[in-house]
Symmetry: C2
Subunit: 453 residues, 2 copies
Amino acid sequence: MAEAIRHDKTSHQLRLLSDALDSGRLGPVRRLINTLSPAEIGNLLESLPLGKRVVVWGLVDPDDDGEVLVHVGDEVRESLLADMDPDEIVAAVEDLDIDDLADLVEDLPDTVIDEVLKSMDRENRERLEQVLSYPEGTAGRLMNPDVVTVRADTTVDVVLRFLRLRGELPEHTDHLYVVSRRHQYRGRIALAALLTHEPSTPINRLLDAEQPAFDVDDSANEVARQFSDHDWLSAPVVDDNHILLGRITIDDVVDIIRERAEHQALSAAGLDEDEDMFSPARRAFRRRLIWLGVNLCTAFLAASVIGQFEGSIDKIVALAILMPIVAGMGGNAGTQVLALMIRGLALGQIGASNVGELLHKELAVALINGVCLGIGLGLIVLLWFHDPMLSLVIGTALTINLLTAAAGGVLVPLTLKRMGFDPALAGGVLLTTITDVMGFLSFLGLATLVLLG
Amino acid sequence: MAEAIRHDKTSHQLRLLSDALDSGRLGPVRRLINTLSPAEIGNLLESLPLGKRVVVWGLVDPDDDGEVLVHVGDEVRESLLADMDPDEIVAAVEDLDIDDLADLVEDLPDTVIDEVLKSMDRENRERLEQVLSYPEGTAGRLMNPDVVTVRADTTVDVVLRFLRLRGELPEHTDHLYVVSRRHQYRGRIALAALLTHEPSTPINRLLDAEQPAFDVDDSANEVARQFSDHDWLSAPVVDDNHILLGRITIDDVVDIIRERAEHQALSAAGLDEDEDMFSPARRAFRRRLIWLGVNLCTAFLAASVIGQFEGSIDKIVALAILMPIVAGMGGNAGTQVLALMIRGLALGQIGASNVGELLHKELAVALINGVCLGIGLGLIVLLWFHDPMLSLVIGTALTINLLTAAAGGVLVPLTLKRMGFDPALAGGVLLTTITDVMGFLSFLGLATLVLLG
C-alpha cells in the first residue's frame, strides 16, 4: 500500500492543483508550482486539459520556462509555445544548455530561432550550429560541446590550480578529458582520482586510456546500449580524426531509454510517444482514423474468408458461433511470441544464428498448447453441441492456428525488421490478420471437408 | 542504414560467436568473450539456446562470473547457476558490491548463502544483512551502504588530505555526504566543488543542503521518478531518524527504468520480464497455457453471446460474415485508449481531477470515428450485400462499439488500478472481452430487432 501511495505523488500534486484551480485563487497555484522541479511541472502540464494547462503555464516562473519546455512531449510543447510571445520564447530558451536547446530549436518558429541565435555569444552560437549539423538520433546531436580538457604532461597540482581559476564545472562532470595538442582525445581523468592523489602525481599516471569515445555519427540506440552495458555516467564524442567534440551524459541517456520504451508501448497501438493525452478531439480523431482504417481493411480480408464458407455456415450455424474462438486464440498466442521477439530484436539478441532454434522451440510450445487446449475446447464443444466430429474439427483447427501463430510470431517481426519497418508498429496488425485468416480458414475449411464433404 | 548496422552490434557478436562455436574451436570463442563487458556477456548468454549457453558460460573468465550473473534475467541466471559448483558460486559473488549481491542472494542455494556470508568480513556482512532486511522494490534494497562522509566544521584542505589518505572512492561517487556527530544527513558536497575552491574554503560554504534524501522505505518507482525528474546521479538514503544509511546511484535507476518498460511490454501479453527466450518448451508451455486458458474462457463468453442469436444467423448468414468486423474494430480502438491510459497511470498523470475530461475527449473522438468509419463500412456492406438496412445496422453497431471501447479504455485500467491490479497485465484481456461481447451484442441484437423484428 505504501507503494501505491508514494507512487501517486504526482497525482496527489495534480489533485491539489486542480482543487486550487477550481477555487479560482491563483496565488496558491503559483506557490504550489514553484516548489516543483521543471520536469515535475512538465509532467503536471501534460496531465492538464488544454484550458487549465494554459492558465497554469502562465503562472510558471519565467526562469523555469525553458527547462519545462525541454521536459514535455512535442505535442504538449506545441500547445505551450502557441501561448507565448516571441520575446518570451527567446528569454525562456536562451540560457538552456546547448544540447537541450538543440532538442527544442526545431519546434520554434523561424523568427524566434533567428532572435535566439542573435542573443547568443559567438562561441555558443557556433557550438549550437555544430550540434544542429548532426542528424537527430545521433551521438553528435546528443552531445554537449561544453567539456573541460587538460593535457597529459602536467601534474595534479597544476590541474587543481587550473580548476580553481576556472571555477564551476559543467553539470554532471565526472571526468576531465585529456587531449593532445591537436585536441585529439587521449583518455580521461576521474574527478575522484584528482581528489585522492598527491598534488605531485603526474596526470599521465591517472589517465584512463581505456574509455572509448563515441563517433559523432553513432546512433542514439547504440549510445544508450553502451551506457547501460558499461554503467557510464558520461562519455566523450569524437569526429573521424579523433578530435574531441563534446560529451554525452547519463541524463540524456535516461531520456532516450524512457522515450524508446514509450515508443514501443504506444506504437503497438498505432500511436506516437509524443501524443498529448488532451490533444483536441478533432486532431486525435484524424490520427486514429488512419490506424482504424488499416484495421478495417484487414477485418474485411478476414470477413471475405468467412464469406467463402457462406454455404457451410448456412447449414451448420454452430460454425458461426465457434469460429471467433479459433481466430481469437491464435491472436492471443501470436501476441505472446511477438512480445518476446520485439524485446529480443530491440536488445539485438536475435539473429540468423539462433532464429532456427527459436522457431523450433515456439512451434514445440504451440504444439503442446494446441493439443491440450484443443482437447479442452473439443470437450466443451461436445457438451454444448453433442457432435464429436465438430469437436475434432475445432480441436484440430485450434492446433493449426496456434502453430501458425508461433511461426508468424517469430517470422513476421523478423521480416519487417529486415525490410526496414518497425516491428513494434506493424507487427501486431499483420500477425492478427494472419491468425484471423488462418483461424477462419482452418476451422471453416475443415468443417466443410469433414462435416459436409 | 548506419542506424541498422550499428544497432546490430550485439547480433554481429552473436553471429561471430555462433560461427566459432559451430567450428568447435573454443579458443577464439574465449578470446571473443573476454573482450566484452559483463553486461554484454550477459546479453549474449541470454541470446543462446541452452546447450550453447552452458558451453560459453564455462569459457567466461571466472573474475567476471559475478558481474555477469547480476546482468542477466532471473530465469537465465537460474540456468547459469545450475551449471556451477557451490565453491565457484561463492568465488564468483563474494567480491560483488553489496547492492548487487543483495540483488542476487535470493536466487542462491541456502548452503551457498551461508558460505558467502562466512567468507565476508564483519563490516560487509552486517551491511549485506542490513540491505537484505528491507523488502524488494524499496530504496533500502537499492542502496549501497558504502558512502564517504565528512563533517561540516572543516575546510577543503582537510577533506582533500582525508581523501588522499583514504585512497579510492566508491564507484559513481559524485558527492560526499555531510553528516552530524550522530551520523544524521545534513547535505552534500560536490566533488566538483572541492576541486574548484581554494583549500582554505570552509566546507560549510560548499554544502548543498537542498538535496533531499530518500526514506529507506520509499518505493523503487518513486526513486526512479525523482532521479529522472531531477537529473540526479546519486542520492542519499536515510532512516526515520534521518540517520544516513547509504546512497542510490543512477546505474541502478537505469536498470529499474529498463525493467519496468520490459515488464509493461511483456505483461500485456501475459509474460514475465524475466522470461528466458530459450526456456525449455515444457516450462514455457505451462506458463503460456494459463494465459491462453484465461483467454479461452473469455472467448467462450463472446461465443455464448453469438449463441443467443443462432436463429438470426440461421436466417441471415451475412451476419456471421460481418460480426467479427464490429467486434474486432472495437478491440483495436480500445487498445489505443488503453495504451494512453497505461502510460498516463504509470506517470501518475491521471487522477480523479482529470478523468472526467479524459473520458469526455475519448468519447468525442470515438463518436467522430464511429460516424466516419460507420458510413464507410455501411457503404462497403451495401455494395457487397445490397441491403440498406443491414448497412444501417452495422454502421450503428460499430459506433456503439467504438463508444464502448472508449469508455472501457478509460475506465477499465483505472478500476483495475484502484482494485490493486496491474492495468498493464489484465487491462487488455478485460477490455477486448468487453468489446467482443458488446460488438456481437450490438450488431446481432440490432439486426434481430431491425431486420427480423
